[in-house]
Point group: C2
Chain length 326, copies 2
C-alpha cells in the first residue's frame, strides 16, 4: 500500500464538470473514467449528483454509477445531494461521502436551490438526522460545501464574516468537513488566506477543504494561499472541465493535472501518477469532443527531469488497466 | 500626480513578446502601444532589443522607437542589449534602463548568446564601464536578468545555489537590480520563495525583480510567492504574448492584465487602470491577428463591483487619447 499523501485531491469533473456539459456520457464511460483515475492514485472522486433526472439527464444514472464504483479499493466515492431525498438515494446506493451545498450569497442560494439559506441549513440538518437513523450509515461522512464563499454574479463580493458564520453553523448542524468554494472566480490569495484563518479562529482545528474555479486565472494561487493556512484537501476537475454558465468562454474548475503538478513540484506528495493522469485526460477529451478542455500541463508537457514519486512507486507495483470502454 | 504604486509592473510584450512573433509591427504602432499603455498607468516598459537587424527584423527600429517614447512622462523606458555595442546604441538613443541577460544554465547561455557565463559576466562589466564613461549616462540604471534561473529545456532543473551565486556576481559587476527569470516554466512557489530568500541572505536587501512565464500554469502563484518574500517589481506582457519556441502552444509571459487584476484584488495598488488596459490589449490583438493571446480576465471579465483605484483616479484627471495608429 502506498504512503499517505500529503495533499488529498478530489476529482469533481464527473459532477461539477459534467453538469455543465449537454452531452450525456454513458455509465460505462463514467465507470471507466473513475476506475482509470483511481488507478492513477486519485483517492477521492465525486461521481454524480442525486438530482431529478428530468432536469439533469446527465445524472439519471447516479445510483447505478455509485453501485458500480463504490467498492474500488482505497477510493472514497462522494455524491452531491440537494435534499434529504437525494441523500437517502445516495446512501442507499453506497456512497462514502454525502455532499451538500449552501450558497453564502442569499440571492445565489435562492436561484440555485430555490430556498433561503436558513431553509438550506434545515435541509442539511435533516440529512444529518437521516444519517444517524441507520447504524450502517453512521460511518458515512457529510461534506458541506459553501459555494459563492467569496463573491457571486448577483451580489458581487461577499462579506467574509458571512462565510465564517455559515461554516460555523454547518459544523453545528453535523458537517464532518466544510469545503469553501469560489464558484465563479471572486477569490484572491489574500481573501482566501483571511477566510480560512477566520474559520479556524471561530470553529477550531476542523477539517476544511477548498474548491476553486480558475475563472479569472487565480485558481492555483488560491490553492497555494489555502495550503499556507493548513488546508490539505482540494477539489479539481480533469482538463478544468466545468465552465461557468454566467461567463461564456471562461475556464471552470482548476485542472486536476495542473494541481497535481504544482503540489508535486513543491515537493509535496499527492500520490497521483501524473503521466497516467494525462492519459485519462485524453480519454475524457475523447468522450467530449465538443467541449474545450483547459490546463497548462497538457499543452506544455512536464519539465525535463520532473520527479513524481507516485510514478516511481506505481512502476513497481501497479499493473494499469487499459483506459476506455466501447 | 498619482500616488506611488505598491507594486511596479514592467510591460515586456514589446520585447519578450514581439521577439517570438514573425510579423513585424510598425514603429508607429509600437509607439501607439507604448503611449496608450503608459496612459493606463504602466510606469515601466521594455521597448525593444538592440540586436542585429539582420537576425531580428522586429527590432530594426529600436533606436528610433526609443527616441520617440523616451520623453513620456512618469514612464521608465528600458531596452535589452546583448553586449557593450548594443548598450552604447541604447544609451545613445536615450533609454532609462539598460537590460542585460545571463542564463544560469551554462548550456542555455551558450545556445542563447554563444558564449560562456563567465564571458557574459565580462560583457556585463564592460557595459557597466561604458555607463561610467560619460557623466550623462551615470544616472541610467543597469538591470541584469538571470534567465533559466529555475530550470531549462537542456539541463532540466537548475541548482538554486548557482542562481544565488550569479545574482551576487551581477551585483558585484555593477547591476542596480537583478531580475530572476523563469524562462520556460520550471519554477514553483516553493522554489521561488527559496531562491529570493537565499539571494537576500547572500547579498542583502538589494533591489530584486521577477520575470515569470506561465508555461505550466504557475506564473501567478510564483508572483505571489515572490511578493511574500518582498519582491515588488514584476515583468508581464499584455495578453501573455511571448510563447516558448521549445513548447509549441504553451503560453508565454504572465499576462499583464491578469497580474494587475490579482494584485489589485489583493488590495495592493499597481496604479494601472485595468479596463483601459484591456482596450490596449484589444489594440495589440488587432496588430497581431495570427497570434493567439492568452489571459483569464480578457475571457471572463472583471468581477462585479471590482474596485480599481487607478480607474477612479484617472476618471478625474486623465483625458485618454484614442488608441491606435493608422
Amino acid at each position: 500500500m502506498a504512503a499517505e499523501p500529503d495533499i488529498l485531491i478530489r476529482e469533481v469533473g464527473l459532477r461539477d464538470g459534467l453538469q455543465a456539459v449537454s452531452e450525456v456520457v454513458s455509465t460505462d464511460n463514467k465507470v471507466a473514467w473513475i476506475e482509470s483515475e483511481a488507478a492513477c492514485g486519485v483517492r477521492s472522486i465525486e461521481a454524480c449528483s442525486f438530482v431529478p433526472p428530468k432536469y439533469f439527464p446527465q445524472f439519471a444514472d447516479a445510483a447505478e454509477l455509485v453501485r458500480r464504483v463504490r467498492d474500488l479499493p482505497e477510493t472514497t466515492v462522494s455524491a452531491l445531494v440537494p435534499n434529504v431525498r437525494g441523500a437517502e438515494m445516495a446512501l442507499d446506493a453506497g456512497v462514502d461521502v454525502v455532499g451538500f451545498v449552501l450558497s453564502v450569497s442569499e440571492s445565489h442560494n435562492r436561484r440555485n436551490v430555490r430556498c433561503s439559506r436558513e431553509e438550506s441549513l434545515g435541509r442539511f440538518r435533516d440529512i444529518a438526522a437521516l444519517r444517524a437513523s441507520r447504524p450502517e450509515w453512521r460511518s458515512k461522512r457529510l461534506l458541506a460545501g459553501l459555494s459563492t464563499a467569496f463573491g457571486c454574479t448577483i451580489e458581487g463580493r461577499i462579506d467574509p464574516s458571512e462565510t465564517v458564520r455559515l461554516a460555523e453553523r454547518l459544523f453545528e448542524a453535523g458537517a464532518d468537513q466544510v469545503s469553501v468554494a469560489d464558484t465563479v472566480g471572486y477569490a484572491d490569495p489574500k481573501s482566501v488566506s483571511a477566510v480560512f484563518r477566520s474559520i479556524r479562529r471561530a470553529v477550531g482545528d476542523v477539517p476544511l477543504a477548498a474548491h476553486f474555479h480558475d475563472t479569472r486565472g487565480l485558481g492555483l494561487v488560491n490553492v497555494f494561499a489555502a495550503l499556507e493556512t493548513g488546508v490539505k484537501e482540494f477539489d479539481a476537475s480533469l482538463g478544468g472541465l466545468g465552465g461557468c454558465p454566467y461567463a461564456p468562454g471562461a475556464t471552470g474548475n482548476i485542472a486536476t493535472e495542473d494541481l497535481v503538478f504544482m503540489i508535486e513540484a513543491m515537493g509535496l506528495r499527492t500520490g497521483v501518477h501524473i503521466e497516467r493522469l494525462l492519459e485519462v485526460r485524453d480519454f475524457v477529451e475523447s468522450l467530449l469532443p465538443h467541449e474545450p478542455l483547459h490546463g497548462a500541463i497538457a499543452r506544455a508537457g512536464l519539465p525535463i527531469g520532473f520527479e513524481n514519486p507516485a510514478a516511481r512507486r506505481q512502476e513497481k507495483t501497479v499493473h494499469p488497466g487499459r483506459i476506455g470502454v466501447g
